[in-house]
Amino acid sequence: MSEPPKPSAEFLSEAQEVIEAFSRNLLQLDAQQRAGDYDPDLLNAAFRAIHSLKGLAGLFGAGQISSLAHSLESTLDSLRLGRLPLSQQALDVLFEAVEVFQNMLAAFGAEDAEPVSPEALLARITALSPDDGAANGAGDLDGLDPASLGVLTEYEEHRLRENVRMGRKLYRVHAAFDLLAIDVGIESLKSKMKEFGEVITYLPSADSGAEDRIELDILLGSEFAVGEIAAGVAEDGVSVYPLDPKPARESTGPQPAASRPPVAPVPAPEPDPVDLVEAGPEISLRSISQTVRVDLERLDILMNLVGELALVQANLSGTLEAVRGLGGAADVSRELQTHLRTMERKLSLLQQGILDVRMVPLGQVFDKLARVVRKLGREAGKEIRLNITGAETELDKLIVEELSDPLMHMIRNCIDHGIETQGERADSGKNATGRIDLRAFQKGNRVIIEVEDDGRGMDWRAIRDKAVSRGIVGDLESREMSKQEVIDLIFVPGFSTRDTATEVSGRGVGMDVVKTNIARLSGLIDVDTVPGRGSKFSITLPVTLAIIQALVIETARQTFCVPLNSVLESIMVSQADIETVEGHEVVSLRGKTLPILHLSEIFGLRASTRYLDPARIYIVIVGLAQHRVGIVVDELLGQQDVVIKPLGRALRGVPGIAGATELGGGRTVLLLDVSVLVEEALSRGDGGPHDSVPEVAHA
């Protein structure tokens, strides 16, 4: 492909949005199609989405996307005109298009990405092409006057036939609107009518009433009786008449309205209903202009500024203290303090505001997952229903992005390993349709995401045998492990419960990658499984990453921050409480033995004494994924909200250090990478599954 001009970031993000909207339409259509009947407006929305994508791509010179969109547009047009039935095959092609579009966009974004070839998809689109006239015989329109049919567009006529075919009655709704308020009036009437059926078209009414009023006839297809509709849409100037499909009499007007109740003037349709239909798009335009797309980097800059302002404020408080010490200016310093307090409040509001802007709903990822479930389920020949709850739960944009791969992998595992084949499910008396629940909810300042399937669950004995045969744990050692410890082995690198790699999940990456990715987001992952009943993975995440709460500690006279979300608790022990097991120091906490490590030792810091005060030893208990470790420190200095700053290319590889942050007084301190420290503690020659320095260190 020849080098196209590089589309701007603006194009990429806008196209991404259009494709996401398109994908959401498809998912709804898919669900409704399975249920038997779908809302034609969804198909229209999908058509509009692809149409605007085509325009957008054309505008930015993304020729390939534009031409693919063009082909799809024709297919969607056939679908909405009923020339092509909306089958699962057709939906397959449309879903595939979503993937291809996204690959194309990704290829635009990356410098050295392989060009995406849409040929295979184009061929499948062509294969779908309609056999002429297949659908148009559907509804019998004998009763309607040909002249009135003539003014309908092909789409309207198709919908009219569809309504007749579905056994709906046709109604003519006559409405009069004030010229000035017509857009509001039509919208409100339309939404009322939608509850009763489908609005097929709007036709300007024949009788010209007063100058400042517009009268319309609306063609409505509905299963309800005329009385119900009339009651439901009751509004000034609106009346409902049934249209009899049987020709009652020779009508003077074009519309064969066998109007029984009030002898209404017959509509004389004029062949240009376009103006009124346009009212729709105008409304959507307005809503688009309500949102602003912002580069995340700009938000980071703002965030940094807020962090620095907080430092300025802290310095001001220090100055205030100094002024107070001078004495004689009590009034002024009191006033200053009031202002400072106000500033503090406003600053924290500002900080919260910026954080809120970074938040996006998890639905962005869940939509992608819904497509994956549909695709993989069909490939694996398993009928799977995905239930999503909490798609509106919000997380920092960065976290949402980073989550999509781990979640994708967990879903794949559910489909491949968890959900049984339909036969197996029938044998064990389960519903043939497998079920995956994807739940998200907020709990305090954390978000919990659960992926649960009702499949075969995990057999801990099988996991143990596999782990032994893979040499991950020794045979003897494995006998001493608890059930939960055995199940946690699935997070160890190199573990996979199936010998033959399948296309779905056997890609050499396993749950260990999931765990690493979650840990990188300061998250915890837990698994709960009942053989024969299913498995549940729970991911606990902080709501935001950019600003975190940190525990400030000191060791060997150096200050460090520990992310508070990985701190479980801090305890104080005396030297007598520290025992040694095979050369490793441990403490007992509520009956559990915890390995401990000295920060000054692992960081090679020069400490004058091993313990500042042997009677008061502070231990910070940290936990990540399934492990708990105690870190010995000299002092606990308190908690603080800190803005994380990256260390840059040169120092980013230092194992155990996640970043830096500024505390008051211009001090820069390091933020510990708890996940790496925990890994290291566990790998200290226990011969167990963690006997290697994690690769995270060099990521």
């Binding site: 120092l651 590889g653 194992p655 690769e695």
Partner: protein, 185 residues
């Protein structure tokens, strides 16, 4: 040396002045001269192209970073951005540790990230003509040779032009012990 002085000096050679116009360009204005910030480390004189230098500041407070090589002094905070600060003397194996009254930190920009280089003192800005640059001197063996991009002769001394690519190689920043473990894992 304050930042303004450097920019003053930079203008003096490369740009035509009032005088040039008056005398009908009697003076030859060379445009191929490269401006270098010249500084001392130990007993030697070094240079870095001025385009790579963002600013020159007094030594700032640095926070030591564990598990890093000996030449990494730590991280410093330059206008809210956290950057690594390097002791150039240690990096160049010059034995004499950096610092002192005239010590400065050159904030350099490399691959769109900033680094601070602690030097013993900034001498000034010098224009170096291409013909006075001796590219990639092969004779200089050893680890230090990798850091040298060229030698320049000017004002009676040899100026060693440093190569930021090798000087700031991220692989060298980790302490050897940590790297060994990483390689095993």
């Amino acid at each position: 040396m304050p930042e303004e002085d450097i920019w003053d000096q930079m203008g003096s050679d490369a740009l035509a002045t009032e005088e040039d116009y008056e005398h009908g360009y009697a003076r030859v204005v060379r445009v191929d001269l490269q401006q270098h910030v010249v500084f001392s480390v130990g007993d030697e004189t070094y240079g870095i192209p001025i385009a790579q230098i963002g600013e020159i500041s007094k030594p700032m407070f640095t926070t030591p970073v564990p598990r890093t090589a000996d030449f990494v002094l730590g991280i410093g905070n330059v206008r809210g951005v956290v950057i690594p600060i390097i002791d150039l003397a240690t990096r160049l194996r010059l034995k004499t540790p950096g610092g002192g009254r005239d010590a400065r930190v050159l904030i350099v920009r490399h691959q769109s990230e900033q680094y601070g280089l602690l030097v013993d003192g900034v001498i000034g800005v010098m224009s170096i003509a291409p013909e006075n640059l001796e590219e990639a001197p092969g004779a200089l063996a050893g680890a230090r040779g990798d850091f040298i991009r060229a030698l320049a002769r000017g004002e009676g001394r040899i100026i060693i032009i440093l190569d930021l690519g090798t000087l700031l190689d991220p692989d060298d920043f980790l302490a050897a012990s940590v790297k060994a473990k990483g390689a095993r894992g």
